[in-house]
Every structure is written in structure tokens, then in C-alpha cells.
């Protein structure tokens, strides 16, 4: 069994692309082995630094197994003439098979055949042929060419290649780079042209040359050394995403502790964090109460900072950026958010949808409508309206110009600073929420209304203009917007109807498309986030999908009632009823007629009818009060009566009046109790 090592030496790969690239590389590699029948018993791991993607595999077969191959030729009659002499066809086959005609055998089916033993190829040869594709077919979000327009594409230029099978070079070439047995160390602390023989040796040699091959080792080193640097009584503000980023920005990470002037702590924490974490990639330091401290940890791609030069450099950069922040804050206060409103006419939202001033006005109208629908009260309605007017005004501030990722947040901070009511400031601050899966929804009702209205206007505008997402293309993040609306409606417990929202969104004649778009997000939310089963969601949405909050409550109830004894069997019976009605002309046809109690047969039929009439009032009362679990349990209690009905009663009897009345009765039973969920959608078992 052989060991294989592949190192793709590159220039610095963007940190966020490295892990997906490793996964892809491993898959390509294993696929190639499979195709060559070499995959069995192979175990393989990947590693990466900014400058190298690495595969180490064990258990490779050094050679393919020899295989017998049978070549079948023409029938004997065709291959030989009447005199037993070979024909052209016979000679042709012998030539193709590479044997003398005399040595060819004839099979039971009368056809000529040749048995050959095909020698298995050497793995080194197969790998050499496969590796260029294994490497170049790794998917990256954006690739480049570097040798020439016609040259290969990769994420960054490939500068060296190591490919060793049990220490022997697997020869191949990409973009003029030949595979070999030499690797490179850290750009400045290591050397180049380092000979390696196998994975263990490779890893050791790299470590000696200041490259820690394992990302996990690098992260652990960062965490450990950073924690050692943090002064007593304080702690590192945990940030796994940053830790991961730094692990892939360095080959030999070493944390450095820096400080900044206490006065900067007067700046909003949002600004301090954005500069430190996102722009400069520093860890923040806090006290045990979580209060930010005037210190930070930078992570250098070196072994240390003996004379403090790196620390001083990072401190100077941070000071300049904080100074900018302070300057922007001061300059921005010269004009209040409210006074900035007219300037929004100079900021384009989208060429087809006008400026942010126009958008703000539309959003304000939507806010008014939603607040009225919710009977939110004058105070909340007023706050929401004010917030909608101010929400986009921070787009004209210097601070947002410098830190665009703080849009909304800055508006909220300025609103609070400029004496707007707390709810207004919160609503402005929160109105882009939820932007990501981990985000909360806005904290107050006013903010929720504004957040919905802002997204609704965006959706309505783009849908009206016919610019809906297609496939994976969603340049305006409309899916995220619609999903955000659904989340706010459900998690914020707002009983608004999708139909109504589409109507006020401005989607005009594309309202129907937008409606479907919302229902799709709703399905996604119930299934993927809430973890409901596929058929439960289908059943509930099948009954009605208009009020997401209500849909969610009904789905919860179904999930809860489903494990009870009677539920699924009843669902099966409902499915049966539906099928009977469908065959007989459709549910609607019979539901429109009235049941004649006199035509019901005494016994199972009349009993079921009585049970239905009995339950009907009870169930609708429970439904009205939102107690879907009780209502569903009540419906489920029909099961014995339904079972008995099907045991004792034939539906499709000869007598047309009785049959018709029976079908009508069943249609009523079905529709009456299918308003919470369309039970026929439930898949039993």
C-alpha cells in the first residue's frame, strides 16, 4: 500500500475560499481514484495554508489489478467461408485483437472470441494523467489566468507542485510548472527548495521552516498565545469567525498585544468593533462584565515582535482609523438626520426604482398601512412612520461612507444622539434586520413594521419591474428580503396576510408571483429552520397559506398531534374520502350541496353524521381561539366513527339519491375538518 502526497503551491489564496477548495480537491482526487479502480482502502486528509493546498493519502494500490478481457468477434459463419477459409471480416477481427487467426476460439454462441489479459497500469502513471484535472477542476468563486489568455485558470498562480507516491515523483505539469519533490517554507522565515520524501517528513520540514500545516494547530496557537497576552482580569472577546480567518491568513501566526487611547472608547462600540474586527482583523479585549477595553490583539504572520515594531505599526493604523471615526462623527452632527432627507434625492436606490428619497416615501406609506392593519396604536404608528422617514438618511453621512456595513446602525445611533424617541432610534438601527441567519429580528414593534415595509418596497419594486431572482442569481438579495419578512411576521407574532402585503408592496401585476415567492420562503422556514416534516408543511399550506403566523401555529399543532394514536389513520381515511370524491366528480361539486339527514342510513352513517355535527361547533370554537392542538385532537377523535363508517357502509350504492347524499355528506366532513390542514397531504408511516 502506497502513500501519496500532493502539494499545490500557490500565491496567497483568499482565506474564505480555502476550506471549500480543500473539500472540492479531495472529492476530485477520490473520484479520479475511483475511476481508475484505485480508491479501495484509501484514506485521505487535506490541509491548507494561504500558499498551499495539500492532500495526503494512504492505502493506495501501487498498480491496478490485471484483468481478463474478452473480445467478441463476428459469428463463425461470417468469419470463414464455405471452404473454411478466413473472410475479410475474420482477418479484420484477428488484426484488431492482435492475434493470429488460428489461435482464435469459438464460443457457445458461435461467435469468435479472444481472451486477453490486460495488465493493470501503474498508479504513478494514472495519477500523473489525472492530477492536472483534479487540481484545475477545483471550483473557486472567481478565477484568473496568469500565463496567457489561453492558459489554465485557478484562484491564484500555481508556483510549485509536490507530488510523491511512496517518495517517487508523480510527473505532470501545469502552466509550465513541473511536479517535483521540493517545497517552500514561510516567505521570510523559511527557505525554498526543501526536499521532501513523504508526508511525515514534509510536515516536519515545513514546521522547521515556519509553516504550521494544520489550520487547527494555527488556530490553537493563536488562541493560546493571545490568551497569554491578555492582562489579568480581562479576557479576549471570543470570535470564532475571526479566528478562522486569521488561521487562513497566516502560515506561522503570532499574536501581538496593542493598546489605544482610552478616549476612543467614547466612540460607539459598533464603530470600534467594525474597525478592529472587520477592517483590521484584531481581537477585542473586554473586562469580565463584557465592557470593551483600550487594548487589542493583532495576529502577525511571523514568529514574534522582539522590538515592538509590529505592535507600534498596528497601533498607529488603529489610531488613524479611530481618529477618522471621531472626525466623521463630529462632522456628521453638523446636519441632523432629518435635515438630510432632501439629500436622499441624490442617492440612487436602483436606476429603475428611483432614489432613496422616493423609496423612503413609498416605505412610509406601507408603514402607515401596516400600522393600521395591526391596530398598532397612534404612538407606535407615529414612531414607525418617523423611523421610515429617517431610516435611509445615514446613507449621506461620512461615517456610512467609510463604513457601509454600518448602515442603519449609524442612523440609529445618530437618531438617539439627536434626541429622537428611543423607539424611533431602535427602529432605524434595526430596520435592515434580519440580514443573516443568525440575526435577531428588530427588537420593537415599530422597528418590525419599518423592517417589513422597507423589504416589502424592495420586493414590490423589483417584482413590478420584472427583475425576479432566477436560479442561483439573486443580485438584489430578494430571497433574503422575503425570508426576513416571513421571519419577522412569525417570530414577531404579527398576524398579517401575504395577500394584503403583496397588494400594498407595489408589485402591481406581479403580485401573484410575489405571493408565491413568499410562500416558498415560508415553506423553507417551516421545514429547514423549524424542522417540520415535508408533508406537514404541505398539509398546512394546502389548507391555507395566507397568514404566515397562523400557518406556523397550525404546523406546530400538527407536529404535536401527529404522534397520537388516531391521527395518522384518520389522515388515511381522509385521503380515501378525497379519492372517492375525486372519482365521483370532485370535492367542490358535493361540498356545494346540502346534506339531507333523512336519507342517511341508521347506524354507522347516521352516527358519524351526528358526531360531525356535534364536533363542528366545538372545533370551530377551538380554532377561533387559536387552540389548534385541541381542535386537531377533537378532529382525531372522529376516527372510530369514520372507521366504522367505512367498515359498514358502501358509498357508491345504486340508489342515486342516497349515493349523492352520501358523497355530499363526506364532502362536508372533509372540508369542514380540513381548514387547519389538508390531511390528505399527510403521508402515513
Amino acid at each position: 500500500m502506497a502513500e501519496f502526497l500532493l502539494e499545490i503551491g500557490t500565491e496567497e489564496i483568499p482565506d474564505w475560499m480555502i476550506e471549500p477548495a480543500c473539500e472540492h480537491l479531495e472529492r476530485n482526487f477520490l473520484d479520479a481514484l475511483k475511476e481508475a479502480n484505485l480508491a479501495e482502502g484509501v484514506t485521505c486528509i487535506t490541509h491548507a495554508t494561504p500558499r498551499r493546498l495539500v492532500i495526503a493519502a494512504e492505502g493506495l494500490t501501487a498498480r491496478q489489478v490485471d484483468k481478463d478481457q474478452i473480445l467478441t468477434g463476428p459469428p463463425q459463419k461470417v468469419a470463414f467461408d464455405q471452404d473454411g477459409k478466413p473472410t475479410k471480416a475474420g482477418e479484420g477481427f484477428a488484426k484488431r485483437a492482435g492475434v493470429a487467426l488460428e489461435s482464435i476460439e469459438i464460443g457457445d454462441d458461435g461467435r469468435l472470441f479472444v481472451k486477453r489479459s490486460v495488465k493493470g497500469r501503474e498508479a504513478v502513471e494514472i495519477l500523473g494523467e489525472a492530477l492536472p484535472d483534479v487540481i484545475l477542476k477545483v471550483h473557486f468563486p472567481k478565477t484568473m489566468y496568469w500565463t496567457a489568455k489561453s492558459g489554465p485558470r485557478f484562484i491564484r498562480p500555481i508556483r510549485w507542485l509536490v507530488a510523491l507516491l511512496d517518495g517517487a515523483v508523480v510527473p505532470f505539469e501545469i502552466a509550465g510548472v513541473k511536479s517535483g519533490a521540493k517545497t517552500q517554507g514561510h516567505r521570510r522565515l523559511g527557505t525554498t527548495g526543501i526536499d521532501v520524501t513523504g508526508f511525515a517528513d514534509y510536515q516536519d520540514q515545513l514546521a522547521e521552516n515556519y509553516v504550521l500545516l494544520s489550520a487547527k494547530t494555527r488556530r490553537e496557537r493563536i488562541e493560546k498565545l493571545a490568551n497569554d497576552l491578555v492582562p489579568d482580569g480581562l479576557r479576549l472577546r471570543k470570535n470564532d469567525k475571526l479566528l478562522k480567518t486569521l488561521g487562513y491568513l497566516t502560515e506561522y501566526p503570532t499574536p501581538v498585544l496593542g493598546t489605544f487611547e482610552k478616549e476612543f472608547l467614547d466612540l460607539p462600540e459598533e464603530v470600534l468593533e467594525t474597525v478592529m474586527l472587520h477592517h483590521q482583523r484584531y481581537f477585542a479585549i473586554e473586562d469580565v462584565a463584557g465592557k470593551l477595553q483600550p487594548q487589542f490583539i493583532a495576529v502577525a504572520n511571523l514568529d514574534g515582535d522582539p522590538d515592538g515594531e509590529i505592535r507600534r505599526g498596528h497601533e498607529r493604523v488603529l489610531r488613524a482609523r479611530f481618529n477618522d471615526g471621531r472626525f466623521f462623527w463630529e462632522v456628521d452632527q453638523k446636519q441632523s438626520l432629518a435635515d438630510r432627507m432632501p439629500d436622499l434625492d441624490g442617492v440612487v436606490f436602483h436606476a429603475k426604482l428611483g432614489t432613496y428619497l422616493a423609496k423612503s416615501k413609498r416605505t412610509t406609506t406601507i408603514v402607515d398601512a401596516i400600522a393600521a392593519d395591526l391596530s398598532a396604536g397612534d404612538e407606535t404608528a407615529g414612531h414607525a412612520r418617523r423611523a421610515a422617514e429617517l431610516a435611509k438618511c445615514d446613507l449621506t453621512t461620512e461615517m456610512v461612507g467609510e463604513f457601509p456595513e454600518l448602515q442603519g446602525v449609524i442612523g440609529g445611533l445618530y437618531a438617539a444622539h439627536q434626541g429622537e424617541p428611543r423607539e424611533v432610534a431602535h427602529a432605524v438601527y434595526d430596520h435592515y434586520l434580519p440580514a443573516g441567519a443568525d440575526d435577531e429580528i428588530p427588537r420593537d414593534l415599530a422597528g418590525r413594521i419599518v423592517a417589513i415595509a422597507d423589504k416589502l418596497d424592495t420586493l414590490g419594486g423589483f417584482f413590478a419591474a420584472g427583475m425576479m431572482p432566477t436560479g442561483s442569481r439573486d443580485p438584489f438579495a430578494l430571497r433574503r428580503a422575503a425570508y426576513g419578512v416571513i421571519r419577522i411576521l412569525i417570530e414577531g407574532e404579527m398576524a398579517l396576510s401575504i395577500d394584503r402585503l403583496c397588494k400594498i408592496s407595489g408589485a402591481s401585476n406581479h403580485g401573484g408571483d410575489l405571493r408565491e415567492f413568499f410562500v416558498d420562503r415560508l415553506r423553507y422556514y417551516l421545514r429547514e429552520i423549524r424542522g417540520h416534516r415535508y408533508d406537514e408543511v404541505a398539509a398546512v399550506i394546502g389548507a391555507s397559506s395566507d397568514v404566515p403566523l397562523d400557518v406556523s401555529a397550525r404546523t406546530e399543532a400538527i407536529s404535536q398531534v401527529r404522534p397520537t394514536l388516531d391521527f395518522e389513520p384518520l389522515a388515511v381515511s381522509f385521503k380515501r374520502i378525497e379519492n372517492i370524491l375525486k372519482k365521483a366528480g370532485g370535492v367542490k361539486k358535493y361540498a356545494a350541496q346540502t346534506v339531507n339527514p333523512d336519507l342517511l342510513e341508521a347506524g354507522a352513517e347516521a352516527d358519524l353524521y351526528a358526531a360531525m355535527t356535534d364536533l363542528s361547533a366545538k372545533v370551530s370554537g377551538q380554532k377561533e381561539s387559536g387552540d389548534y392542538v385541541a381542535a386537531l385532537n377533537a378532529v382525531a377523535s372522529l376516527r372510530p366513527a369514520v372507521d366504522r363508517f367505512f367498515d359498514d357502509v358502501l358509498v357508491m350504492v345504486e340508489d342515486e339519491a342516497v349515493r349523492n347524499n352520501r358523497l355530499t355528506f363526506l364532502a362536508h366532513l372533509l372540508t369542514e375538518f380540513s381548514t387547519i390542514a389538508d390531511f390528505a397531504e399527510i403521508v402515513s408511516g
Binding site: 498562480p157 521570510r188 504572520n301 505599526g313 472626525f327
Partner: protein
């Protein structure tokens, strides 16, 4: 500690030793060294070329009246083009930093993803921002497209921010405190420039006159490129001497005048996108004509 001009001289001689033609700045206003014909036109076509030059780069909207320690109306870029890019380009770049006294064993050097794009030039590339102890000191780009044309040979473009680099080396917080020569500071040399151009760009530039100038230069460029396009295919004599370089100057003028109008707050939203499109159109058609002329000249 090296002063500003020492750094420039050292970097120039470093790249001269790598075979670069040391050019002098273009005498037309540009927003970045990339826009100079030494980059924009030279990267087109199959001819190898290496050049380095300092380009004063004017960005009217970035002016701060000489009051902001880090922001300038006009900053200096050292622009290096190596076409095609050599395999050891990053190593060369690192050595250039060492040549000006930066010990990269003692400073945190990182390449962080930053792809470059200039819509007005129909140009984009893949690359990084170069971070030194957390400070962005250079932009490194492998050009992929220029003037809307896929490039045959991939050039590496290195753009050094000279003020930042010097402030870093001299350990000063404000660009104005940079020691330019042994006797003069950056403030001595450039303060009035910054102040007066800020006043002009933000307050005094005549909007109508600037607009008219834009139209005039646009028309001149269009006229020349159209005339070139009208030349017969066999008219190689006229084609090879045709003034496309002056036509390109007109494109640069338009770009700068657009920036001036923008700083002046004179461009409406609708107009803005349209004007960028106008400049791009000029640049792209000029690039196509230039490619043709290069083939004619051979």
C-alpha cells in the same frame, strides 16, 4: 531614516535593475497611475514591457483642504508594470520593500484578497492589498482585462502608496509631517496645492464651463477615433501615424472633468451613471483602435 525622495529614488533604481523603463509622470491629470498610457495602452497586445513611474494622482472628491492627516486631493503612486508577470513577482516586490529599509522578518506582511476594477476603463484584475503591520501600502493586481479587451499576456501591476509608505517608515501620523528631503517637509512642498485645489474643486469650479469642457474633449476623442475607423484597411501608412495617443489624452481629460463635477456636487444621480458610461465608451473604443494600430505597426 530615509526621506520621501530617497524612497522614490531607491524604488526607481530597484525596478530599473529589473529592466523597467523609468518613465516620468504623465502630464495630463489622472485619477490613478493605471490610467496613464504607459499602463492602459501598454498592457494591450502581445509585446512584453516593463516600466515604473511616479504618477501624481488627482481625486478631487478626496481633497480635505490640507486639514486631514491621511487624505489628499493629489497623492503620489509609484506604478510598476511587468508584462508578462515574472514567476517570482511577489518575491521581487518584497525585495523592493527591503531595499527601502523594511525588514520583512520584523514586520507583518500579508496579502489580503482585493480584486481591482475600473468601470470607466473597462478594466479589471485579480489581486491583493498588501498589508504591512495592518497598513495597506500597495495594491497588487494581475490584469485580466483592459479597455474591455481580454489581455493576451498577464501583466502584474504594483501600485505603491508613497505617502503611506513613507509615513510608515518615518513613523509619523500625518502625511504633512513626512520629511520630503533633508530640508523640506511634505507640508512645505504640497500644502498650498491641497488647500487651493480643495477650494477650487468644492467651491469655485465653474460647473457650466467644466461641463462644456467635458463635451468638447469627448467630441474631440470621438472625432479622432471615428476618423481612424474610417481609414481604409490598406492605408497602413496613414494608420500607423494616426494620432491615437492625443485622442487618449482627451479621454483622460473627460475622466478628470467628470471627477471635478462630481466633487462639486454638480452631477445628478441619473447623469452620473450616464457620464461614467460615456467615459467608458471612449476608453473602450480607443483601446480597440489602438490594438488595431499596433497590429498595423507590427
Amino acid at each position: 531614516m530615509p526621506n520621501y525622495q530617497d524612497i522614490i529614488l531607491t524604488l526607481k533604481s530597484f525596478w530599473a535593475e529589473q529592466g523597467a523603463v523609468i518613465q516620468e509622470p504623465l502630464d495630463v491629470e489622472v485619477g490613478a497611475g493605471t490610467m496613464c498610457p504607459e499602463t492602459f495602452l501598454r498592457v494591450l497586445g502581445p509585446k512584453p514591457y516593463r516600466t515604473a513611474y511616479v504618477q501624481p494622482s488627482r481625486r478631487p472628491a478626496d481633497g480635505r483642504y490640507g486639514e486631514n492627516p491621511n487624505r489628499l486631493y493629489k497623492h503620489m503612486q509609484l506604478q510598476v508594470i511587468l508584462k508578462p508577470s515574472p514567476d517570482d513577482i511577489i518575491e521581487l516586490y518584497m525585495r523592493s520593500l527591503e531595499a527601502i529599509g523594511i525588514d520583512l522578518r520584523r514586520h507583518d506582511f500579508k496579502l489580503e484578497e482585493d480584486n481591482w476594477e475600473a468601470p470607466t476603463l473597462g478594466a479589471w484584475g485579480i489581486g491583493w492589498q498588501v498589508m504591512l503591520d495592518g497598513l495597506e501600502i500597495s495594491q497588487f493586481t494581475y490584469f485580466q482585462q483592459c479597455g474591455g479587451i481580454d489581455l493576451e499576456l498577464v501583466p502584474a501591476e504594483l501600485t505603491y502608496g508613497l505617502e503611506r509608505l513613507t509615513a510608515f517608515l518615518q513613523n509619523v501620523d500625518s502625511v504633512y509631517d513626512i520629511q520630503w528631503s533633508d530640508t523640506s517637509t511634505y507640508r512645505d512642498v504640497r500644502f498650498l496645492d491641497e488647500q487651493q485645489y480643495s477650494v477650487y474643486n468644492f467651491e469655485k469650479a465653474d460647473v457650466d464651463a467644466t461641463r462644456k469642457a467635458f463635451d468638447t474633449h469627448e467630441a474631440e476623442s470621438q472625432r479622432l477615433v471615428a476618423e481612424y475607423g474610417g481609414l481604409g484597411e490598406d492605408d497602413t501608412a496613414e494608420k500607423s501615424r494616426f494620432p491615437l495617443l492625443p485622442a487618449y489624452d482627451q479621454v483622460l481629460k473627460c475622466s478628470h472633468l467628470f471627477n471635478t463635477l462630481d466633487a462639486r456636487g454638480a452631477i445628478s444621480v441619473a447623469e452620473r451613471a450616464a457620464m461614467i458610461q460615456r467615459v467608458r465608451k471612449l476608453a473602450v473604443s480607443l483601446a480597440a483602435a489602438w490594438m488595431n494600430q499596433q497590429e498595423v505597426i507590427g
